[in-house]
Symmetry: C2
Subunit: 96 residues, 2 copies
């Protein structure tokens, strides 16, 4: 597996319906044994939904292996103010 | 520490401002070395916010030790329909 492919096993959760991201994860699962599901701010709850839906219903031989939360600082271009936003990364992995 | 106290080291995140829950966690921290921050559905992102705010700004000798996501099934009283909702439990613990 090339380095380029390794950077691709990541699904960013945004404002689309959860099923879009469930499908994206399933697609990644065809070529990876480990996928990172990432989200910021209010999308974090959707990331948890997606990880649970995928591992319970579609990729039943996969499991949630790790969750890491960090605070990211984002500088607003307009006001120069620094905003802090929580970021969650959920690692799911194929068993065995 | 009695069993009753042990069941109290849990803070449920709802729809109030985050600072209320940050305060609740700080209060619990006076009598516990481990606290569970729990949330369902859309409140999950607030639980992550609260855990990060507490461990970064207020209880700097505490750390996020674990995060567990599960799916809970809730039966609607009106329609008898079963709804699934994601639940996140964040464990924070005092170092040493």
């Amino acid at each position: 597996m090339s380095t380029q492919e390794d950077t691709q096993n990541c699904v960013f959760i945004g404002k689309k319906p959860n099923k879009n991201y469930v499908f994206a994860v399933q697609t990644q699962a065809q070529s990876h044994n480990e996928i990172f599901i990432k989200a910021r701010g209010k999308s974090i709850s959707h990331a948890v939904d997606v990880a649970l839906i995928v591992t319970h219903r579609f990729l039943t031989d996969w499991e949630i292996k790790d969750m890491q939360a960090i605070t990211e600082e984002i500088k607003s271009k307009e006001t120069d103010k620094i905003d802090r936003v929580s970021t969650l990364t959920i690692t799911i992995r194929k068993n065995g």
